[in-house]
Point group: C2
Chain length 230, copies 2
């Protein structure tokens, strides 16, 4: 499948690597591809410079947000929360159309240091903002509640653990669920919370996620919902 | 131990029952004991009227917030989030002193229906508000992320699952941890997140908790933090 991934940071790279390994035709989208490639330094999380990463993944394409949006039969938003709405605007309504977009981004505000607060929460969410701005786009919020290294390799953790999907379009959620199944997620591990307003719930998991990350000094953990025997 | 429990709703009752069964000397605190006893109807969660519950638990005492605060060597706040600050004001600074208070309350706002939003979140929390209002009181936020029926009986769920403690006083957290151990919580299941500002993290678990509750139509679940093998 042709997939457009918005964002060239660690989340975009790790997701793109996984898609590449599964045989998909991936294009990363960024604001200015030449500028992104010109960066020499490692990124904040110690990942190699984008040009080095691209060289190591020759099958992955790089383009503008608009080009990545046009490329993808399915889209993934892996930008920062602050960059998400702008990225979609640059992608353009025509290129986004009524495609399915998995939105992994979180509205984290690091302006006052760690742990971050949220730039939108409680009675609204970033997922809803994106859906409102592009009503035809079929936004599915998901994968935003764990580190990207586990998003694409859930079996690195022992036993059952969970991710949460929400969105207004049932077919879109079914497509995302099928794709994530190829990452190793069991069907019962993907909890469908309902429409996109439920992004308020999943994005507000981040405040405890970042604190647990600070405590463990290790992002390799996830939430599991333990229920009484049915 | 003498324990004062603020709140006569389902959370206060269930916690008080557990304390009673463990041999503690418990007093429930309410705004107006006579008025609370005069209510004939079952409460919103289908629990019996308070007078019937009191009759079934003759060892548990009932008093004003101030009397319950004076009674307890340790205190538990099991009021609604909206009622919490007012309950503490009625309890009075003199009676609260520098006692340990386990704060179970959550700032849930049901004014727009279900699921509730939060009346404080993100850059502040109810736990912090209570601690700021009574700087000598040693507030420990905890047990606020699961149903009261599991708070007092964690082994009703299979395997390991977690609760989160936070507060500014290490001794207070140690006392709460010891008490919760007698409920059946294993030490490794009680995650200490640090100071009281971490209540922002645990209170913001409620938005997804209420949505999972809505989905499951059953409150008998809890979060477990699954980590990679150490």
């Amino acid at each position: 499948m042709k997939i457009g991934v918005f964002g060239t940071g660690v989340v975009g790279q790790v997701i793109a690597e996984k898609f590449e390994s599964l045989g998909h035709d991936v294009m990363l989208g960024t604001r200015d591809a030449q500028q992104s490639l010109a960066r020499e330094a490692k990124d904040g999380s110690g990942r190699p410079a984008l040009k080095d990463w691209m060289a190591a993944h020759p099958k992955v394409k790089l383009g503008s947000f608009a080009e990545a949006a046009a490329h993808g039969q399915m889209l993934v938003n892996a930008t920062s929360g602050f960059g998400a709405l702008e990225a979609l605007k640059l992608a353009g309504e025509k290129n986004l159309g009524s495609k399915v977009m998995l939105d992994i981004s979180n509205p984290l505000d690091f302006s006052k240091g760690f742990p971050p607060s949220l730039s939108v929460c409680n009675t609204d969410s970033l997922g809803e903002q994106l859906q409102r701005a592009f009503p035809q786009l079929r936004v599915v919020k998901g994968l935003n509640t764990l580190t990207c290294f586990l998003m694409v390799a859930p079996r690195m953790l022992p036993g059952m653990h969970h991710i949460f999907l929400c969105g207004n379009d049932a077919d879109a959620k079914a497509e995302v669920r099928k794709l994530l199944g190829t990452f190793g997620w069991a069907d019962a591990e993907m909890i469908d919370l309902g429409d996109i307003t439920n992004a308020r719930g999943t994005e507000q998991l981040l405040p405890i996620w970042v604190r647990l990350y600070g405590k463990f000094q290790n992002p390799m953990f996830n939430f599991s919902i333990v229920r009484a025997e049915q």
